[in-house]
């Protein structure tokens, strides 16, 4: 029988077919050899607008609709000093890996050819960088072209015997560069742009020189550019180090990390533990890590044990022997105070743990040792490896004191420290040539590496945001720090808006498809109640008596899902933004203005599409029945809380609208009582509002928020609507409903607060259930001090878990519970203009009532989980950004003023204490050394939370104590933020 096997040469097509062979290992550790076909072709264009050959003779690739892909590379590319005729860039993988920020610059780096092999390598090395590069290739003005060199016959490079993958890839890059050069050389008439390879690999550069290819290192290339000096800073520092100096062994400051396999085995055997590293906000040398193996967090103390971990990194730790266990620090240690005089240029061969740090630690040890009770010591651990860095871009400013005099004038490269705004992030060492320009500016930097031999991480400069303390720079800094997407909506998103723009109206004809399955509720007396100046009105309400003595109550929510169709660009953008962010002077919208403040907003006197939840309620606020429908409404009036309150209180107003609000108010009070009976918590956080001057929008005053009945009116009905909707969508989609849960806090969270209340006030805090907690919080009163209860509530709130969105299939039903609201099931439905979760709930509810078909993206569980994960993060960041913005403006409002206010001691340390001033909703640390010129001696009784000072000033301070403080503004040298400074006037 003849063999079926043919020799490859006999096949006429063999020259065009190649194989890509590679080996990969699976998660379970199996090694797989994979062979893939590769079809080599000659019709992949060079994409240069100069090249007639590709444009005319070759078949330009077309998609299924016959649309050809446009050519990308410019016919008149920019020149440099060395290549005045213009040039196209071909970076290798390393260039993208180390300096992606450079390529995103507006001033240079146009006409870039991204080779397929480079894209592939980048994807394997770093997915985020790959995604950034992909979005660059999509941007029209940057002119990045992806050339599939592996598929073009002339540039395909088979791997040679014994050649490493890296060498082959480098050879492929050089071959592609050479091909481009020859290909473009055939252009007649015009001057031909040079093809320049960018690489930081010395070997690759050398070979390129031998082969006669234009090639430069990143630094050399940037120097050729006009603005080169500035960009030079953005080339990561580690790169220079590799080239300039070989590392000297022996002067390593930090212990080496374990190998990945050692860590993995350790974690598997439960000898090592893996978790997210968190830095204490009060002490930068103290971190904690929660690991699944233990109920309480492990402490990580000191620089050596922290071992180069940065807040948020996923690390592996090893528990230390018992003799090294410690109590959490009761001292405030700020990096700034201790490492103030370090020299960034010094070859930190001197003591690794500085003298002052040592002293601070000694004091701690003394204190722990003086305690006889050993039970207080907590297990400690040390970091042995980092699984995944959580490094991002950090906002900060250059530490003035780290700048040498010479650097302020010259253009010499100099090392300086950048102090990040986030106190939990260590100082970053930055090498820059433009120190003088960057001083006093808010700048954005990234961390590149943290070597064992360097005390601080090293990073590079990304861009400058502007002068410190200018509104624009500070706002942008804040948005960057909390990762808020604040850029204007791209055109693709705006294209999804209705074409009519502001002239869009609810169609007159009931035959219009927009009216399909919509109920006409235009005759109902609907009104909205919102804060003053609210433009994005999400919700409106109505009530009317029914003939049987019951009431019909309706909550009408803006029908955003009518305008934002799943899967389009606007939906994608909204799902990334996740939520609207409210800052004091600015609002970063989730949806474009046209929708948010006009077409969706339930403005008064105009017809709008809505999604309505309508209940029948008895006068005792028991629900008889509920239904959901898409509708068209016409709001009669948009009240502010204050206006609505006035109208309700004014008994002379007897019109129908006012009576319906009164009905709603009466029902809401009953609803609230029911909720409280079920064990809902009323928690508290210090809330203030910054009043702005209307024209200059400068802050002038700070007001605490006043609570009105009408606020809880709206709140109650929104809670009710959310709960009703949650039930309905869970019923329809038991696996994929988007819900919101609030986990019961672990009892240990309350240990400290309970102990404090017990010791100081003899009060018991019971935390068995939310009901018990609510009751015991109610008992926490001090007759002489009405604020005491609020203070305890504020502290209790901080012990809570945060609520989160989740997809119903990921949790068991009992876990759905919303602890704070004491509701079995809950979701967000009532603010679709400003929250993406609500929009998803709208779509699911619409599908549940069979208004529209289920869209695949609203029922793919994997997708929903990803959405939930994102909106949870966004939601949290939005809250933090909002608070930070208020804090900044409170600082600005107090600028130049000094007032005396009452405050309360919230937290007490051996060398300081934290005071909360309810009037401004701010808290601040007062250190012992702030009390008097000479730092007074102090005795700290940790068991009783008492701090007594002697010597230069004598005061006795204890927890919950009322104090009088002078509040002034002060620029915080560490973070560059203007914040408040408090001085103790007297202790009551």
């Amino acid at each position: 029988m003849a063999s079926l096997k043919r020799s490859v040469e006999s096949d006429p097509l063999a020259a065009n077919i190649s194989n890509k062979i590679y080996v990969r290992s699976t998660k379970s550790g199996k090694v797989q050899k994979i062979v893939r076909e590769v079809y080599l072709r000659r019709d992949i264009p060079c994409s240069s607008k100069l090249c007639q050959e590709c444009q005319h003779q070759m078949v330009i690739p077309k998609d299924a609709l016959g649309k050809p892909i446009p050519f990308v590379l410019s016919d008149s590319p920019a020149g440099t000093k060395v290549f005045p005729q213009g040039h196209y860039l071909v970076p290798d993988t390393n260039a993208f890996l180390t300096a992606m920020d450079l390529f995103e610059q507006d001033s240079a780096f146009y006409d870039v050819i991204v080779l397929q092999i480079v894209l592939e390598e980048l994807r394997n090395r770093s997915l985020p960088l790959y995604n950034r590069l992909i979005s660059l290739t999509k941007s029209e003005d940057k002119r990045f072209y992806v050339f599939f060199n592996e598929f073009r016959l002339e540039t395909h490079v088979p791997r040679l015997e014994g050649e490493t993958v890296n060498d082959r890839n480098d050879r492929a890059v050089r071959k592609a560069v050479a091909w481009y050069g020859q290909h473009l050389a055939r252009i007649k008439g015009k001057s031909v742009p040079a093809i320049v390879m960018l690489s930081n690999d010395r070997d690759n550069l050398k070979k390129a020189k031998q082969e006669g290819i234009n090639a430069c290192s990143l630094a050399d290339y940037v120097k050729q550019l006009k603005d080169g000096e500035k960009l030079l800073d953005m080339i990561p520092e580690t790169q220079d180090q590799d080239q300039i100096k070989e590392k000297r062994p022996g002067d390593n400051l930090y212990p080496e990390y374990f190998s990945m396999s050692k860590m993995m085995t350790g974690v598997k055997n439960n000898l090592l533990h893996q978790g997210i590293f968190n830095v204490s906000p009060y002490n930068y040398l103290e971190g904690s890590i929660r690991v699944p193996a233990f109920p309480k967090a492990l402490l990580i103390l000191g620089r050596e044990n922290i071992n180069r971990a940065v807040d948020g990194d996923l690390v592996v730790v090893e528990v230390l022997p018992k003799d090294q266990w410690k109590e959490p620090s009761t001292q405030v240690i700020e990096e700034d105070a201790i490492t103030k005089n370090e020299n960034p240029d010094a070859e930190e061969s001197d003591d690794f743990v500085s003298e002052k740090e040592r002293k601070a630690l000694q004091e701690e040890v003394k204190r722990t040792h003086s305690k006889t009770t050993e039970g207080h010591a907590q297990p400690t651990a040390r970091v042995v490896g980092v699984i995944k860095r959580n490094w991002r871009q950090y906002v900060g400013h250059i530490d003035q004191s780290s700048v040498s005099q010479s650097a302020q004038q010259g253009r010499k490269q100099d090392s300086v420290f950048v102090i990040p705004m986030d106190k939990k992030i260590p100082k970053i060492r930055l090498r820059t040539r433009q120190v003088s320009e960057l001083l006093g500016k808010r700048i954005l930097v990234t961390i590149d590496a943290w070597d064992r031999s360097s005390r601080h991480p090293s990073g590079h400069f990304v861009r400058s945001l502007g002068e410190l303390e200018t509104k624009a720079a500070e706002t942008e800094a804040l948005l960057l720090e909390y990762d808020v997407q604040y850029r204007p909506f791209p055109k693709t998103v705006l294209d999804c808006l209705p074409k009519e723009g502001h002239d869009w109206r609810v169609p007159q004809s009931l035959e219009d498809p927009g009216w399909k399955d919509r109920q006409d509720l235009r005759d109902l007396l609907i009104c909205s109640i919102d804060p003053i100046g609210c433009q994005d009105i999400d919700d409106a309400l109505h009530s009317r008596p029914l003939p049987n003595g019951n009431f019909e109550v309706g909550v009408h929510i803006a029908d955003v899902s009518h305008f934002v169709k799943p899967g389009n660009a606007m939906d994608a953008e909204a799902s990334i933004r996740g939520t609207t962010v409210y800052l004091v002077d600015k609002r970063i919208d989730m949806l474009p203005m046209l929708l948010g403040t006009d077409l969706c907003s339930l403005k008064p006197y105009v017809e709008r599409y809505a999604f309505s939840v309508i209940w029948e309620m008895t006068p005792d606020a028991d629900i008889v029945g509920s239904r959901f429908t898409k509708s068209v409404i016409k709001s009669r009036e948009a009240f502010s809380y204050e206006q609505a309150q006035l109208r309700v209180d004014d008994s002379s107003q007897q019109d129908e609208l006012t009576t319906s609000i009164r009905t709603l108010l009466a029902l809401s009070k009953k609803l609230k009582q029911k909720r409280l009976d079920a064990g809902a918590l009323s928690l508290s956080s210090p809330e203030v509002k910054v009043q702005m001057e209307s024209e200059t929008s400068d802050p002038i005053d700070v007001k605490t928020k006043v609570h009105l009945d009408t606020m809880s009116l709206v709140e109650e009905f929104m809670l009710l609507a959310n709960t009703s909707v949650a039930r309905r969508i869970y019923e329809a989609f038991p696996q994929t409903a988007i819900l919101r849960r609030h986990g019961a806090p672990p009892k240990t969270n309350f240990d400290e607060l309970a102990n404090q209340l017990k010791v100081k006030r003899g009060l018991d805090l019971s935390v068995e259930s939310s009901r018990a907690l609510a009751d015991s919080l109610d008992r926490c009163v001090d007759e002489k001090e009405p604020f005491f209860n609020t203070l305890v509530r504020i502290m209790a709130t901080r012990c809570m878990m945060s609520a989160e969105y989740f997809c119903s299939g990921t949790q068991a039903y009992p876990e759905f519970r919303h602890y704070g609201l004491a509701s079995e099931i809950y979701t967000h439905f009532t603010s679709p203009i400003r929250r993406y979760a609500d929009l998803m709930a709208h779509r699911q509810l619409a599908a549940a009532i069979e208004y529209e078909a289920v869209h695949p993206s609203t029922r793919s569980r994997g997708k929903l989980e990803a959405v939930c994960k994102n909106i949870n993060v966004r939601h949290r960041n939005a809250q933090l950004a909002g608070r930070a913005s208020i804090a900044y403006y409170v600082g600005q409002a107090l600028r130049g003023k000094a007032t005396e206010e009452d405050g309360f001691v919230m937290k007490i340390f051996s060398n300081g204490f934290v005071v909360l001033v309810p009037r401004f909703g701010i808290e601040s640390l007062i250190r012992l050394r702030d009390l008097a010129e000479v730092e007074p001696q102090a005795e700290f009784d940790a068991e009783n939370y008492v701090l007594e000072t002697k010597g230069s000033r004598e005061v006795r301070l204890e927890l919950f104590q009322k104090v009088r403080v002078r509040v002034t503004d002060q620029k915080d040298e560490t973070t560059g933020k203007r914040g408040v400074k408090m001085e103790l006037v007297k202790a009551y």
Binding site: L4, I17, E37, A64, L119
Partner: protein
Amino acid sequence: MPLDTSTYNLALLRVDGRRWNELRRIHAQIRTQAAADGSSYLEMGHTKVMCVVTGPSEPGPRRGVAGAGGGGGGGGAGGQSKEAEVVVNIVIAGFSSVDRKRRGRGDKRTLEMQSTLSNTLAATLHTHLFPHSQINISLHVLSQDGSLLAALINAATLACVDAGIPMTDYVTACTAGSTSTYAANDEGADPLLDLNHQEEQELPGLTVATLGDSDKVVALVCESRVQISRLEGMLAVGVDGCKQVREILDQVIKAQGQKMILEGTVDKGTGLNDMDLD
């Protein structure tokens, strides 16, 4: 690891360098096993299958599960029926895919393919000419790289032609897909022809088989989720692909015929006089 299918839109090139409407290389041979009534060997890219046909012959003793599963579409109760029964048996070699997996006889996917094949062929072969008999089609999968069912159908067609079983026309098959996933819901997604393994894993796809040069669809299998609006484009591309496959198979048959005449294996019959011999 190479790039995935999401890079298609960057330059309209698929993961293996093809355009959207290009087939992989197809290589086929017939009469590979002299002892069999009909045999063939077919490669579509790296998917390689072998087929052996025996029959029509007297039905052998009833076999167990495989026979019952394979013969599902053969029509009637075996030997007693008026039509020949088409019994298909697929063996997937353990070394055919990346991870060595042993598939037993009762593997559900294999049974499903057997039954699809049997139904498809029973509709095209003139089984009514062979009452009380059985046609055994035995397929061996040597290597898998996507579009397996399509390759099996094509190989079986070739082997049936080789066995000289009368049939209406060629049954040719290929797969079609779409460039973006179901969840991405991209309206502008291009249809794709002839999916390889990676594309089959990441993208929605279907297998379609047509009869000869016509647009008659004799088999259509879609196991992934895809928007109905994309289906039409995919189907059109698939049917078009089937016609291309038919051309290739036709050439293979004709070349083999020529070779046999030149070698004198068959007599130059009257009907063959007009056959072009150069």
